[in-house]
Symmetry: C2
Subunit: 563 residues, 2 copies
């Protein structure tokens, strides 16, 4: 009878255990979990804290309401789940793990034929003054969720600072704001959600700020200030003090690989346990899964730390099957797909960002920003703004980012599959996606992005980013900015940075209103820059040599506007 | 100066014209349209009729509200759009088209360098008694939409019969029901939405019936009965008379290819104009696009008629560019992706159905039904029921159908991309899709479908459809039906066809409650058959030789239940 031992009971561990059981009804399967809870839906914590639902058990229950406690694991899965039990040491020669019952403090030994490490990750905690004050938390464990939910329910705390503007920071920010707390979010880098490029991230930031959340970038925590052991303020590196009674740290996590390291298993540069495609560590009888490992980025082959719940489940499934049988399943890595909801916006990315692509040495790349609604205006279409990244020579899609109030999730799922299939921009340009007015435009947003990219790659469209237009306008450079919308639209909303309005329908008869010098740089745009593109073609045909389109139009403009 | 002439002004025609203009600012581009409207959002008609929006102009306007009339085309696109103008005859030798102004009845000739046919399709109209009565309509033209919208607004008509249960019939059915009309839908075949296989179609039918719509299948129209020239009833082929004041025909469309045929262009078996990948007809100076053509199914290479708005736009774009420049763009055909909304359900398919695959000679195929929510229960997850089709040897995804109240559209878009990329079930099993609780389960529904398919292909799961279980139970065959849910779930909802309840958590200790004969056919299931699958593994491990899982569980059961 095969003995399979799993260390870690959050996501990847229970998944591996359950899959192992499905592959071998007779194996002895034991799961060791340090905490008291098992199989927690940890990605759901922010929604419990924010009051999207009130029943804590929903985080611990199956869809039909059965709590996944040791009794459930024993009866339903025939898995022995030892909670409040810490794995202290792995003896690879003897194939045993020294464990400690955290209630009785007694130690004992569990032997294994196959061992699966699912030891997770721990929050990074800055080593600054005041870090031990009451009122400082993370949102990564069930007890964190309980702590913050209690704060919501007690309604005593008025001000909070969220430190770190990544996925969890953003979700925490929304949860606390929904709890009626005034929130400031502090990010060390110049933008929130650093998996996004700056332009889409700026649009998300605008939305967050429109919800009365204070956003501070390029600043970090210098110290936590307190009184009587309780947090009273966060002091930033620039000296600013933010009075608050609560601070939530979300500055990332590091893989819990100490146990593996001590056992002599190979660990990567990012601190994660190294595994092969079968999820085997450098010891073939030991597998590792979830937030404690590194996995390859499928596009770059770089070994990265990708602590995402969906990957943890997929990895757990592969390791569970391989540990119980032969190595018959593989896991091919990540394309780093991620998404989050923030108030009425969704924001996410799949594949590489332009930033990460350049860091990885991709130089011959092209990007395009597209803004359009997710379905027709008459069906209540909501805006999507996306950025598509392709490799110029192969025309292969490398990455896609999307933000906005529209159906971002579908866009990203579609793009993730396109990247998985190594599709080119031309494949996407002719994709046959599900169309009906409640669901999409006749030409879906993602397909339209591919169309615009074709135009750029083939030289019929030259783009300029809103960022560059903004920089140029600040420097008062000699750009002729041509807004081609209608006078009514111009009256309602406009940049107000010196642009000239010539409605597209009048442009062919008003070419004399353009600068006489045909080499003047001209930038055409409209609300989303579809008309802007048409205008650019008219202007080019009139002999102008330096005509560009402001990509995404006013909808992609993240800077202040006159109106 | 190149002369580009386009015949047809609904979707593909205007798209081709606009794209041609973008590729050539100086060409003379003329568009001939028989009716008075241009560039109608015809897929939006049902939503206008149903009152989702009230402003008719939204069907004819750009997203910013400009009506796409001849004046718009002239000013904005520099395209001469001749409405109320019929193209009577193509003279290919002279490269000219004889046109007729339907207002003045004068004929005139337009010459072309390149001609693009976008003549659309016409509704099939059954040749039965009473077809000319007042009160019989289709929903394919702007005037149809006006007619039916007036009926909604006048609130005089109480009962309607929709003839044909395809996409448009279903959408019309919802629109009329939203207009307060009692609706009966009549379909000649045994199921609605025949692009779906019977099981998902039956779930859609149940939902439609739950909305008090009467559904009659396997029956057609024998005659329309009337009084004083007005419709009073629809008489069916089985003699049933359905009293009504309105009948809407939606029994499909046929390509308008007469003009092409008369000009000697090649026309296919389905009656559509034949084109190559450049959208060229058998005359290289004549292109054809939209509902009047046939296109290849990319999976089978069969030439089919696929009158979908999204394809029309993609085809128009390709033809417009190729007509204006060289043949530099191609269109690769369709995978027949389609979707519709019907009350709280969405339903759609991409790739092949099992039915169509078998008709096309695919024999070595496997299917699986999956039922699960689109996102976690604690986020208000809604059910999806899907059917995945793969080729056994290559493990390539051939098709995917999905129905239910959940986010079907994302599922189909994801699957459509997977099919486009020729992905296998194993590629999908490890896909890195956007996960966060507001958007999906940690293991997305589509990925889970791939996992179940792997289990089936590898022999760890044997499936049986609800249909087969139902047939067997009707015949009182010797199936041991094992429901492994909890007693509380069983109390709340159950099939009541002789099943035995043994909750999964008790199954290992109650194996003696199973039939003594280890060859007894046993069918395990639960609400969605995840626990059913686990149960099947336990039962098999106990030595039973004929154990299957009812795919999709009770959620995929479309037959009456005891509770």
């Amino acid at each position: 009878m095969k003995k399979i031992l799993i260390i870690g009971g959050s996501a990847a561990g229970p998944k591996a255990a359950a899959k192992a059981r499905r592959c071998d009804e007779t194996a002895e399967i034991t799961l060791v979990q340090k905490g008291g809870d098992l199989s927690m839906a940890s990605c759901g914590y922010p929604y419990y804290v924010g009051g999207v639902f009130d029943n804590r058990n929903m985080l611990l229950a199956t869809p039909t309401g059965a709590i996944r406690d040791p009794d459930f694991f024993r009866k339903v899965k025939n898995i022995e789940a030892l909670t409040h039990t810490e794995a202290l040491e792995i003896n690879r020669d003897k194939k045993e793990v020294l464990c400690k019952d955290l209630n009785t403090l007694e130690t004992f030994v569990k032997t294994y034929d196959k061992l699966i490490l699912a030891t997770g990750a721990s929050p990074r905690v800055p080593n600054v003054e005041g870090i031990d004050l009451e009122g400082i938390s993370t949102l990564l464990s069930m007890s964190d969720a309980d702590y913050l939910r209690k704060i919501r329910d007690e309604k005593k705390i008025k001000r909070a600072v969220v430190i770190g503007g990544g996925l969890i920071g953003i979700e925490t920010c929304e949860a606390l704001q929904l709890a009626g707390i005034e929130v400031t979010i502090v990010e060390m880098l110049p933008q929130l959600l650093t998996f996004l490029d700056p332009e889409p991230a700026a649009l998300v930031q605008n939305h967050i700020q429109s919800k009365s959340v204070h956003v501070i970038t390029e600043n970090g925590v210098k110290a936590f200030l307190g009184k009587d052991g309780k947090l009273t303020a966060v002091k930033l590196q620039n000296g600013t003090e933010l009075p608050c009674e609560l601070a939530v740290l979300s500055v990332g996590v590091t893989p819990n690989s100490t146990l593996a390291k001590q056992a002599g298993l190979n660990v990567g540069k990012r601190g994660g346990v190294l595994v092969n495609k079968y999820m085997q560590t450098s010891d073939p009888d030991i597998y590792a899964v979830g937030d404690c490992i590194e996995v390859p980025n499928r596009i770059t082959n770089e070994s990265i730390h990708a602590p995402f719940g969906d990957l943890a489940n997929l990895e757990g499934r592969v390791a569970g099957e391989n540990a119980a049988t032969e190595n018959r399943k593989t896991f091919s890595g990540t394309i780093q797909t991620g998404i989050c909801k923030i108030f009425e916006f969704s924001a996410g990315a799949t594949g590489l960002s332009e930033k990460s692509a350049r860091q990885q040495g991709f130089e011959n790349i092209e990007t395009v920003i597209n803004a359009s609604p997710d379905c027709p205006v008459f069906m209540g279409g909501k805006l999507l703004v996306s950025k598509l990244l392709v490799e110029k020579d192969s025309r292969r899609i490398l990455g896609y980012q999307c933000v906005g109030p529209g159906d971002v999730s579908k866009q990203l799922a579609t793009a993730a599959m396109a990247i998985t299939g190594n599709l080119t921009v031309d494949d996407v340009a002719n994709a046959d996606l599900p169309y009906a007015p409640p669901f999409s435009l006749a030409i879906d947003h993602f397909i339209a992005s591919a169309h615009i990219m074709q135009n750029k790659l083939e030289g019929t469209m030259a783009g300029i980013s809103c960022e560059e237009v903004h920089q140029n306008s600040c420097k008062k450079q000699n750009l002729f900015l041509l807004d081609v919308r209608s006078p009514a639209e111009f009256e309602e909303m406009r940049l107000g940075i010196g642009e000239v309005l010539i409605p597209l329908g009048a442009l062919r008869t008003r070419l004399s209103d353009l600068p006489q010098d045909k080499d003047t740089p001209i930038v055409c745009y409209c609300k989303i820059s579809l008309r802007g593109y048409e205008a650019s073609l008219i202007v080019k045909a009139a002999g102008y040599t330096n005509v560009r389109v402001m990509e995404g139009g006013i909808m992609a403009w993240s800077y202040p506007r006159e109106k």
